[in-house]
């Protein structure tokens, strides 16, 4: 039986990697993928506690998070495609149209 | 420490051995399914098919295997070698992984997973990556186009096939493969008679899922020079091919389990026995079928032009007679053995029949153009499948809550309603196409 702390540490590790990934990469698509990684870290946390408490409510929350991730990925990638068609770039540094 | 490790591993030994056996034997089986396809194609085209390598071409798969293993392994320039290597491996792995959940008999299952059907669906949806990454990694226009088209087709028809499965699952009441067959045994009827429209949707969806004709645009030779497989040669191409045939068998096995009764014989609820014994009448069917095949082989033997073909025919007749004896002897064996042997026979027979239907459809219908394909999936199959789930669900509620228990009548009424919906959808689609063409195309 794996202790609960192990799952929390794993979740923390993935969260850290995801946060660092969002902050240090230029490519917007990889930023989006890092955000998906953060959401997965949260899912692992929820599932571990669901197992610890012995009911399924954590898993239901996890299902809703996966649903939200799908919606967000679809819309986000649509935005990226629209921007790419206009400016030919997917690097965050070069998306500076609103800068003065 | 060692005994503790052995104790921990013990539940895994038999499944692992079965898995290894399946993975080892399946390439040979796939080779013979290819030979079967060529023979059936030849039969439908009024010719003989491969006859040269071995009597009646029976050693053709071995020749094909040798050729593929000895071919030069070409990697295109500027191809992404990591993905180029991973893609066919991924395809084959996912296709063979699904074999773990298939129930050949009540005791013949590598893993009775609680969510068996969903597991196989999940693994099939992972097979898309083998195609997409393979097309991308080849660094070639035809490959990429074929891969994207194939992936779009797979995703669309996966939705439709899944919804078709759901209408069958409503009657089954469980996601575990063994429980689904058990539910069919309890109701005494195969689910294809309860939800024929669901079976039809799943049949069409599964043909598109496996990239078979008439939905094989992504890999048709006259269209895209074999699509995502263009740049693969030799053994890598053999892996993709193996994955395709494994997918065919897996999809046939799902349909068999969910709609065709798995390991049950036809009419599992008809328990009329032979007078004076406890052997059920319909349980003698396997022996009768094998005897008929043996007699037919004997009849064909004198007509063979070459001596070795006569010997092969005699061997076939002898083998079938032996199997008929085995099936008959199993009737007197204790229950688990009898169910095991007869169950395996019926399961394999149904899977074979479904695969034969695939081959039949391939050589009967012309290929769909890609936009026609997508239109069929999104504008016809998915709405039909959604309405099917609603109608079948309503039918079940009416039966169980209002006490109106006429299963046959309910099945007929739901089928008629669904046929009406299908006709409406087809008519609406035709009208839409007419307006689109009148307006000069989209």
């Amino acid at each position: 039986m794996v202790p609960l702390e192990a799952y929390l540490l794993l979740s923390l590790a993935l969260l850290t990697v995801g946060v660092v990934g969002v902050l240090i990469r230029r490519n917007v698509i990889i930023m989006l993928m890092s955000i998906e990684l953060i959401l997965n870290a949260v899912n692992i946390n929820l599932m571990a506690f669901s197992r610890a408490w012995g009911n399924v409510y954590g898993q239901i929350f996890a299902i809703f998070i996966i649903t939200d991730a799908a919606a967000e990925a679809a819309v986000g990638l649509g935005i990226i495609l629209a921007f790419f068609r206009n400016r030919e770039t997917v690097l965050a540094d070069e998306m500076d149209l609103l800068k003065w | 420490m060692i005994p503790a490790i052995l104790q921990a591993i013990r539940p895994f030994i038999i499944p692992v051995v079965c898995g290894v056996v399946i993975v080892g034997v399946f390439p040979l089986m796939a080779g013979y399914i290819v030979l079967l396809e060529r023979k059936v194609m030849a039969d439908m085209q009024a010719r003989l098919g491969p006859m040269r390598v071995g009597p009646h071409g029976l050693l053709q798969p071995l020749a094909d295997a040798f050729k593929l293993m000895l071919k030069e392994d070409i990697i295109p320039a500027h191809a992404d070698w990591f993905l180029f290597w991973v893609a066919p491996v991924m395809s084959v792995t996912m296709a063979l992984l699904a074999f773990a959940a298939l129930p050949i008999g009540p005791a013949f299952q590598i893993a009775d997973i609680n969510v068996g059907i969903l597991f196989i669906l999940a693994v099939s949806s992972l097979g898309i990556y083998g195609i997409v990454l393979g097309g991308w990694a080849s660094n070639s226009h035809y490959s990429l186009l074929g891969a994207l088209r194939s992936a779009a087709q797979l995703v669309s028809y996966e939705t439709a096939a899944g919804l078709g499965l759901i209408s069958g699952l409503l009657y089954a009441g469980s996601l575990s493969m063994k429980d689904i067959v058990q539910a069919q045994s309890d109701r005494g009827v195969w689910f294809i008679f309860a939800v024929p429209v669901g079976f039809f949707i799943y049949f069409v969806g599964s043909i598109a899922e496996t990239n078979r004709a008439p939905f094989d645009l992504p890999e048709a030779e006259s269209e895209l020079v074999a699509g995502y497989m263009t740049e693969y040669s030799g053994f890598r191409w053999a892996l993709y091919f193996l994955a395709e045939y494994a997918n065919m068998v897996v999809v046939a096995a799902i349909a068999t389990t969910l709609f065709l009764g798995g390991w049950l014989r036809p009419f599992p609820g008809y328990h009329q026995t032979l007078p004076g014994t406890s052997i059920e009448l319909l349980d003698a069917l396997p022996s009768i079928l094998f005897l008929v095949v043996a007699l037919y082989s004997l009849k064909l033997t004198p007509r063979q032009p070459v001596k070795i073909q006569k010997i092969v025919m005699l061997l076939v007749a002898g083998g079938c007679a032996l199997l008929a004896l085995v099936m008959a002897a199993a009737l007197f064996a204790p229950d688990p053995v009898k169910i095991g042997i007869h169950g395996a026979f019926w399961f394999l027979a149904k899977v074979g029949g479904y695969v034969y239907a695939f081959l039949w459809v391939r050589f009967t219908f012309p290929r769909y153009r890609f936009d026609q394909l997508m239109r069929l999936g999104w504008r016809f199959l998915i709405p039909l499948a959604l309405v099917n789930v609603i109608v079948v669900g309503s039918g079940m509620i009416v039966q169980e809550n209002w006490g109106w228990r006429h299963p046959l009548l309910s099945a007929i009424v739901t089928t008629l309603i669904m046929l009406g919906v299908a006709v409406f959808l087809a008519y609406d689609d035709e009208k839409h196409q007419a307006t689109v063409q009148a307006a000069g195309g989209e």
Binding site: Y7, V19, R51, W53, V56, Q59, L81 | L126
Partner: protein
Amino acid sequence: MTVDKILFAFFAVLAVASAVLMVTRRNIVHSAVFLITTLLATAGIFLELQAEFLFVVQVILYVGGIMVLFVFVIMLVNLDVSLHMLQFNRQRFVAAALGLALGAQVFFALWVGGHSLRLPSGASLQLPPKNSEAIGDALFRHYMLPFEIASILLLVAMIGAVVMAKRKV
């Protein structure tokens, strides 16, 4: 060393290693493949927690749906020239330090407050044996409203994505 612990260790190491590889690859398609591996490892963790329905949902939706979408878009916007440009932005050192500080803070919080996580009868509590039935029961009985809202959210996302990706609105 039960099978539980071996499986957890395997999936955990795979998940973290794939995640680190994902954020450091130069080739975007390789990054996507490593994210797929991470998601599959996460699904393995779910299975090890005896949540088989979530395992299947994760594989079908996340890996088989969302990541296919990502791979498609990557193939549409992939520029060969981007392989030779900088891949990390100017603030990388500060950002990495801040990220690791966040991780260290939460780790410290878990370390200090870990004993308060003694939940009722921790190790022997079992989830209901029929996982899918329990989830279906809870979802359609207690959480019906969030379920309907999620379906409207997906409808809105679908419309939004279609409108965004059209060439001429």
